[in-house]
Symmetry: C2
Subunit: 370 residues, 2 copies
């Protein structure tokens, strides 16, 4: 089996707007909160099977596909996914591309493998389970009332856990929010918090004590993830598990450094930030070897496959933008029932098919190697 052509399409998606921390970008890609450039990559093979992957930062991806990935991939056997991953990884030293660029290649390759085998990717990767509990992962809101609406809608929708993202940097404002949410959901409900790298060590420690008091299940990315030693200090001090290594570069080699330094208690993995299924699984396996969970970051088909494959992941992360968004859950291709996510029907590969003619019509720009 050989890759015979590489194509990519630049697509402009319309997204549902949401806000994030006050001084940080929210939804959209910087031009407009409703707009996102995406890239759909297609790998054709000599057996008539095509693999697909869709990724963010569309124009950046178009550039990388044309300049690097297309030449690297032509003639390679997509069943040798590990060899392809290694080749992309080595080129990373020169290109310093974000790992979600490598992820596109790896996802398209595994899509081909799944189709060739007639099996969903998660069965090829491990097939640990067929459905998984989801947590409602909030965006961030101006007022307590808005948080309350989303929390209540999440409870009604049946999520067994809720994760908070924050609007303001001030730790005291956030402590009040967390107290309120604990009040609303009751003492036994699972709550977690993601600070998205908002603070320094001092604020992070102070806030960790608040979360311990309020019996949150984990405390995620309080600081940017370049300071492993600050994470180590925090882990030493706090009992609440620190979840980290989401955005840090280096896939499983970076996971190994976090573990060696005792710099996290729960590892982050994902298809997006760890280089696709290959990198995401490797991170999961390293964490497992050290008795550590590897929680999958982000939703969608790709991450659901990873969630179902890995034994040491416990939740599917479901971003919930507002009440309306929560009410629409389960209407797409993924099944959401009783707080659990699964595939509605057995898929081969990733399970997203693209119509070539439609891609030609809707895309703003196209590249093909041949």
């Amino acid at each position: 089996m050989k890759i015979t052509n590489v194509k990519s399409y630049l697509v402009e998606d319309i997204v549902k707007p949401f806000t994030w921390q006050v001084d940080r970008p929210g939804s959209g890609d910087g031009r407009d909160p409703r707009k996102n450039f995406s890239c759909v990559m297609v790998l054709d093979t000599d057996e008539g099977i095509s693999g697909y992957a869709k990724g963010p930062k569309g124009r950046i991806m178009m550039d990388l596909v044309e300049r690097r990935f297309s030449s690297d991939l032509i003639g390679m056997n997509p069943l040798n996914s590990e060899k392809i991953w290694e080749k992309c990884w080595d080129t990373d030293r020169l290109e310093e591309y974000p790992l979600y660029a490598m992820a596109m290649v790896d996802i398209a390759v595994w899509d081909i493998k799944g189709k060739k085998a007639g099996l969903p990717v998660y069965k090829l990767l491990g097939g640990y389970r067929d459905e998984i509990p989801a947590y409602a992962s909030t965006t961030s809101y101006d007022t307590l009332e808005e948080y309350r609406d989303v929390v209540e809608a999440s409870l009604s929708a049946g999520y067994p856990s809720i994760k908070l993202h924050l609007r303001y940097r001030d730790v005291k404002t956030n402590a009040k929010l967390c107290e309120k949410v604990r009040e609303w959901v009751g003492d036994d409900f699972s709550l977690t918090l993601d600070a998205s790298g908002l603070w320094n060590y001092t604020d992070s420690l102070w806030f960790g004590r608040v979360l311990e008091e309020l019996k949150f299940e984990w405390y995620e990315e309080p600081m940017r993830e370049f300071e492993l030693e600050s994470y180590k200090k925090l882990c030493d001090k706090l009992d609440i598990p620190i979840l980290a290594a989401e955005c840090s570069d280096g896939s499983h080699w970076n996971a190994a450094e976090f573990i060696r330094r005792d710099a996290c208690d729960i590892m982050r993995t994902s298809t997006h930030y760890k280089g696709g299924f290959t990198g995401g699984m490797k991170v999961g396996h390293v964490a497992e070897a050290f008795g550590m969970k590897a929680e999958v970051h982000g939703g969608g088909h790709n991450n659901l496959h990873l969630c179902l494959a890995l034994p040491n992941n416990t939740y599917y992360e479901d971003l919930v933008i507002d009440v309306e968004d929560i009410e629409a859950k389960g209407q797409g291709q993924l099944k959401f029932e009783n707080g659990m996510y699964s595939f509605k029907e057995q898929v081969a590969g990733v399970g997203i098919e693209y119509d070539h003619d439609e891609l030609e019509t809707i895309s703003i720009q196209k590249y093909e190697k041949f």
Copy 2:
């Protein structure tokens, strides 16, 4: 003082072709060994001063300038370079851009500051010296004869030091090359070696012993820089100084991690990989505080400013492609005499001026905020 407009131009440069490791990309940007997309970024101010920066990965830069940097920069005071750096750094968490994207912004900002002050950037940053010794940094060649030609031309040109890059991964082939080069240059000449992350720990240790025997001055990036603990082991074992942290992400926060883990003996800094002058200087200062050199990676105007500003940098890195390239040194805007690099004349800012009309003519694509 305020930034009033942000512009960027996509330019296709023709470069002199060269090869790198056999299974890795060499010159050019992947499409063609002679071609490179670049981006010229222009920041206009309300005082009529414009700042310029030119960077690689042109189409990626065009995207980032349009989507992120332009909105972030409009209205900011370019004299508040630290504030601008912090803003870009924070957005990095979301965008995961390579640090040389931030470098573009920082360099253009310092270009404005230098012009406003009527001083070259290196005088604003520190002004430790006005000229600096350069080492000839080879590309890589198929045969010993080609290495010999370049080594001899480098000696004739007056370089006080030569750094080797390697063509093949095999450590024994490379050991023979290093023995030969030591023979050619004599016992007392300064030689260094840059493995560009070619090996694992075992090969790296074996090769380090070869370099110790041959009295090389430093041993650079034998492994990819995600494995700090492997670097620590290597530093513990070897006497030859290990130079590292060139490509690793995280600017001075990453430098701090390398230092805290005793994972390098000489720190790498640069405008390119550390986020411009601001990041490059911070890395230099962190290293200095720990009695460590911070050697500047790469040449050109920007890195020469950094070289002249930092007290704990000893060399300017001058990439030498072949004999013809070596013979042409000093013909451009930078002075090369007696193995030393300096600016030919006093410059204000970075010292590269762009002709707006010419940019409009030669550029393939243009963006302007207003």
